[in-house]
């Protein structure tokens, strides 16, 4: 088991003929992901190193039975690409595009909720998702993810930051701890998938025995997750929050990472998580070490 995606997930790549799409799409394929088709309007009938390209998502879905899509198109075209995938019957959409206007994100998210309630969007502006050994959609380097073991204990990872997601994977690999699924939800103001969505799945997944959560300053997603954890998550957790020293009013790279009006501080988020029983590390390595202690107690 894993969450959201596994070895049976058939994936199309929207933007497979572009530089990013080709590089990451083929890398995902080489990892073992079932990349079954690409979509680029006007390039139907061609192929990218053996992967057939279609003009529309609908055609690609009809021909391949794909249920997931990897969206790697530029910011201007991303919203339309996401909605096209949803309309064509795709139920899991990973969008790595960075720089989509917040108004577009808000409209797209609410359109999905209303018209396509069964569709899950991961991102935008996220590194993607990897169920090690089974499926990798996005830009994560597959080799840094430790394979899960049949008897466990295995750890689920959910993170708002790209590089810190890799850092978490790497810390666990150094410690020899298996990963069930690692989800990067992205740092934008309106993420399609929240911490809570992932925590709920991890809690229900029999292959996940413990969870690492990586948050950052800005918004209230971590505080909301803490409330959820308190009420619903029984699996042990460790966490790390980036941005303790971030000055107020400055956007730290991610559109969502900003402390404003005294809200969204790292301290507030760490306090909320501790209060929910999560072990909080002061840096990513410490969060990994805390997890190692948790895992040692489980096995």
């Amino acid at each position: 088991m894993a969450i959201f995606v596994d070895q049976n997930t058939k994936v199309i790549v929207q933007g497979l003929t572009g530089g990013q799409g080709k590089y990451h799409g083929l890398r995902n394929k080489a990892y073992g992901t079932q990349i079954v088709a690409g979509v680029t309007p006007g390039k139907g009938g061609t192929d990218v190193e053996g992967v057939p390209v279609y003009n529309s998502v609908a055609e690609a879905v009809k021909a391949t039975g794909a249920t997931a899509s990897f969206v790697t198109v530029p910011p201007k075209a991303a919203s339309a690409a996401i909605l096209e995938a949803a309309a064509a019957g795709i139920t899991f959409i990973v969008c790595i595009t960075e720089g989509i206007p917040a108004q577009d994100e808000a409209r797209t998210y609410n359109t999905l909720v209303r018209d396509f309630p069964k569709v899950r969007l991961l991102g935008p502006n996220c590194p993607g998702i990897i169920s090690p050994g089974k499926c990798n959609i996005g830009i994560t380097a597959g080799e840094i993810a430790q394979l899960p073991t049949a008897k466990g204990p295995n750890v689920g990872i959910v993170s708002r930051s790209g590089t810190l997601t890799y850092q978490a994977l790497y810390e666990l690999k150094q410690l020899g701890i298996g990963v069930s699924t690692c989800v990067g939800i992205g740092g934008d103001p309106v993420p399609g998938t929240s911490f809570i969505d992932c925590l709920r799945e991890f809690q229900a997944d029999p292959e996940t025995h413990a969870i690492i959560m990586i948050g950052e300053i800005g918004g209230s997603a971590e505080e909301e997750a803490a409330e959820f954890i308190k009420a619903n998550v029984t699996k042990p957790m460790s966490a790390y929050i980036a941005g303790v020293t971030a000055p107020a009013g400055k956007k730290m790279g991610h559109a969502g990472a900003i402390v404003s009006g005294g809200k969204g501080t790292a301290q507030g988020k760490m306090d909320a998580l501790r209060d929910a029983g999560v072990k909080v590390g002061n840096n990513p390595t410490e969060a990994g070490q805390l997890m190692a202690t948790i895992v040692a107690g489980l096995s």
Binding site: I100, S161, A221, A246, K250, G253, H254, G256, A266, T285
Partner: protein
């Protein structure tokens, strides 16, 4: 991107939101000309992006040209909480019967637009929220539906805006919402939104923050960009296309990825140091990007050591190492580098650095983030 009041008012005017007649001035003479055109009495307002300018003496009423001359002379160049006033906005003074508050933002928790409307305007909304939360109407708007004229009217009624002002407020709400959505604002706020004795409703102030991701569809934002106040380091970084924020410490930071960069700042702080900046070089850092980043850090006189923190995901360690070696050939650094290189191809990268013949006084390599932070902080002391 935060706009100055005068830019916010100009932006509002594009969406037919009524604002006072006025103009911006950078000299006393211009201020007098603006006042003559606007009609007396006028208000002379310091243009700074910080609250409390009224209390600091940055907003003055002037009844004639001589008074404008005096006030503009005093206000231009004034230091308000560290912000030097470079411009004043001079506008026709309004008679005020009542003051309200209106704003639109994106509520990230609810993932919907949020209207905040209050009949208690003219004071900080945070203050109202604390003392009398019931006085603020909060209304979520589905971005797919938008805000109808009827819903705006109902909001005005529900917020207990007096009858005489309800229609005027509702009309402005519809326009302000259009400005917020089509104008790609993160925040569009009017405080105070005033009712004049003559019955008109009018925006007396403007606070607008724009979403920089939407810049591609707003060529009219170019003039706003020109007045963004950056320090010399930030200007250089922008020229080089780097995500840079200047801070006050002594350890220069370069990292790949915003999360890792933030985390690097934190770790430096934890071991007793302070960061001179936030700098995210993003994915796939090549020699050009690395050289540019080092140049920006090198331009900061406070920097005593440089901490390069790279985790190879998409970015490959060997590429980063080649970039640093090449960059060192192009930039003459004043401060020593401590590097932590991990992840994809990190071993190859460390070998490249080792074999490049760089003296240890210029570059040290550490295997973990914590060790590297400690070394960088020790060098900065």
């Amino acid at each position: 991107m935060d706009l100055f009041e005068y830019q916010g008012k100009q932006y509002f005017a594009r969406y037919d939101i009524p604002v006072s007649k006025g103009d911006v001035a950078v000299t006393v003479d211009q201020a007098v000309a603006a006042a003559d055109a606007a009609g007396y009495p006028v208000v002379v307002k310091a243009q700074v992006q910080v609250g409390g300018r009224g209390k600091a003496g940055g907003i003055k009423l002037a009844n004639n040209a001589d008074e404008v001359r005096t006030h503009a002379g005093n206000i231009l160049g004034m230091d308000i909480k560290g912000h030097v006033v470079k411009r004043v906005w001079v506008e026709n003074a309004s008679d005020i019967a009542e003051e309200y508050y209106a704003s639109f933002t994106l509520d990230r928790g609810a993932k919907k637009h949020l209207l905040m409307l209050s009949r208690e305007g003219g004071v900080e909304i945070e203050e109202v929220a604390e003392k009398n939360p019931a006085a603020i109407l909060m209304l979520h708007i589905d971005p797919v539906d938008g805000l109808s004229a009827a819903a705006a009217k109902k909001a005005a009624v529900d917020a207990k805006i007096p009858d005489a002002a309800q229609q005027g407020v509702a009309d402005i709400l519809v326009k302000l919402y259009r400005c917020f959505v089509e104008g790609d604002c993160d925040l569009a706020e009017i405080n105070p939104l005033i009712l004049k004795p003559t019955g008109e409703v009018h925006a007396l102030d403007a606070k607008v923050s724009l979403d920089e991701n939407a810049e591609f569809r707003h060529p009219e934002w170019a003039e706003f960009q020109a007045t963004v106040e950056l320090d010399a380091r930030e200007l250089l970084a922008r020229e080089k296309g780097l995500q840079y924020i200047g801070l006050d410490g002594t350890v220069g930071i370069i990292a790949n990825g915003a999360g890792l960069a933030m985390s690097t700042l934190d770790v430096v702080n934890q071991v007793g140091g302070s960061a001179a900046n936030f700098l995210d070089i993003g994915g796939g850092a090549n020699a050009d990007v690395m050289a540019g980043a080092l140049e920006v850090i090198n331009s900061d006189k406070n920097v005593k050591s440089i901490f390069i923190n790279i985790f190879g995901g998409i970015t490959r360690g060997d590429e980063v190492a080649k970039g640093i070696v090449e960059a060192l050939g192009r930039v003459d650094l004043r401060a020593p580098i401590v590097i932590r290189l991990d992840g994809t191809n990190a071993t190859e990268g460390r070998d490249i650095l080792k074999n490049a013949g760089i003296p240890e006084s210029k570059l040290t390599s550490k295997s973990t983030m914590l060790e590297a932070a400690e070394a960088a902080v020790a060098l900065a002391k």
